[in-house]
């Protein structure tokens, strides 16, 4: 009972348990994609006909759902479908690169201008698409609505396709922004006095920096403790700015954690997990913990903090997922 997938003038037969994304790419159709885990939303498609399985719309913004959009990587058709790529302009926003600056040896700050103020919560992520259909997700490091630009912290990988593209991009170059998505953001919920712990590795600092500034701007009165975990001293970035911010706010503590560091240099030398665990506040019922960065860190830290007594509903995490190429079966 295999389903047929109509695309343009072609008709393909999906193998059992095969996603729409896999079926189309197997047949040579180019569909933008990156994480293949239902997170990045790069593979957003439109269902022209047919039933969309529930899983293919899970966590999609209501506006997308209403327009019969779905994630091709999560869509295992339950019957015949006719699908198409969404037309740009319908949901996507054109942005131009307005500033680029190296924050350390391999992290680049990229600012994007959008035609109208971009509404998203600091801590959410967006997906960038270039003209070649290359797609990658990045966390938003600021409040674009107030700042009138979107700020991203882009780690430059040696073989990173999007990071190479951004490193080579000129000011004024145009990109497509899709999103925002993600549930890892600050909500004051009426009270602002609970302890807030923010812990991230590498460019996991970006969303936390956004969340931190949102919490301070909204007058969070409870203690805030930010941990940034890196491998070597040179991997720290925004260190000076965060030190200054901590000096200005009596309720803010900033602990840089350098795995291969040495003691007595103004940071915690060792694993970020250790630093976080020794700082878990006594108010375990109300404390909130935000985690961002490498999946191994996020998942391990979440479990440790939960076992230490933090409430599962107060631990927020968006692990960074690597882009996965589609395995093309013969």
């Amino acid at each position: 009972m295999s389903a047929h997938i109509g695309y343009g003038n072609a008709q393909f037969e999906a193998r059992s348990d095969e996603s729409v994304l896999d079926c189309l790419t197997r047949n040579g159709v180019s569909v933008p994609h990156a994480c293949r885990s239902g997170v990045c939303q790069s593979c957003l498609m439109h269902a022209d006909e047919g039933q969309i399985p529930e899983a293919a719309q899970k966590d999609l913004q209501p506006a997308y759902k209403k327009q019969d959009m779905f994630l091709a990587c999560q869509c295992r058709p339950e019957g015949d479908m006719r699908v198409s790529l969404p037309e740009h302009g319908l949901l996507d926003i054109h942005a131009i690169v307005s500033a680029k600056e190296m924050l350390n040896h391999n992290v680049m700050r990229v600012r994007l201008l959008t035609p109208t103020p971009y509404e998203c919560e600091p801590g959410q992520y967006i997906t960038l698409l270039n003209a070649d259909g290359l797609a990658r997700s990045y966390s938003v490091a600021n409040n674009p609505d107030a700042d009138h630009f979107i700020e991203l912290h882009v780690r430059l990988f040696k073989d990173g396709a999007m990071s190479a593209f951004l490193a080579g991009a000129n000011l004024g170059d145009s990109l497509i922004v899709r999103g925002p998505a993600g549930k890892c953001f600050y909500v004051a919920e009426g009270q602002r006095d609970y302890p807030l712990m923010l812990a991230g590795t590498g460019t996991g600092l970006a969303p936390l920096y956004g969340i931190l500034r949102a919490a301070l701007a909204q007058g969070h009165t409870g203690p805030i403790h930010l941990f940034h975990g890196v491998i070597s001293e040179g991997d720290l970035y925004l260190d000076r700015a965060l030190q200054d911010l901590a000096a200005q706010h009596s309720n803010l503590l900033y602990t840089p954690c350098v795995l291969n560091g040495t003691d007595g240099k103004g940071y915690f030398a060792g694993e970020i997990e250790t630093a976080v665990m020794t700082a878990v506040p006594a108010e375990k019922d109300s404390a909130r913990l935000f985690l961002c960065g490498a999946p191994e860190f996020v998942n391990g830290m979440r479990r440790k903090a939960f076992l230490a007594g933090l409430s599962s509903k107060h631990i927020f995490a968006d692990p960074f997922l690597p882009a996965k190429p589609v395995a093309i079966a013969a």
Binding site: N299, R302, R303, F306, L307, G309, S311, S312, K313, I315, A317
Partner: protein, 125 residues
């Protein structure tokens, strides 16, 4: 006047009881060497809703569990050696959780009986 007898689920405190119990129960599960290995590579975010569904069922509340779901959901664990001793451990941890929350022994026994009723489905036999 007849006072209607409250159901087990209502006596335990309904959905609120599930929300209170889930963290205590799941913490016990993750800290118990007998069963924790089965949860090693499990995403906590996905697991909490599943644990809530299980507790709701065990508390006698509304649920959509079918024997088939139970079989499908645990098949890969049975292949990894899931057996009666692990089901016993889960029921024991469930009992300890409720004890901590001050639930009377008679209600704990009822919960244990409901949890026990899906044993054969879970173990796929």
């Amino acid at each position: 006047m007849n006072v209607p007898v409250k159901s087990l689920f209502d006596r335990l405190g309904g959905a609120n009881a599930v929300n209170t119990a889930v963290d205590i129960f799941y913490r016990k599960v993750l800290s118990d060497d007998r069963v924790a290995p089965f949860f090693d590579n499990v995403d906590m975010d996905r697991q909490i809703p599943k644990q809530k569904a299980f507790l709701t069922m065990a508390f006698g509340g509304p649920n959509n569990y079918t024997g088939l779901d139970m079989r499908k959901g645990h098949k890969h664990l049975v292949a990894r050696g899931l057996n009666d001793s692990h089901v016993d451990a889960i029921i024991e941890l469930l009992g300890k959780t409720l004890k901590e929350l001050g639930v009377p022994d008679s209600d704990i026994a009822e919960v244990a009986a409901i949890a026990n009723s899906v044993r054969n489905d879970v173990l796929d036999r």
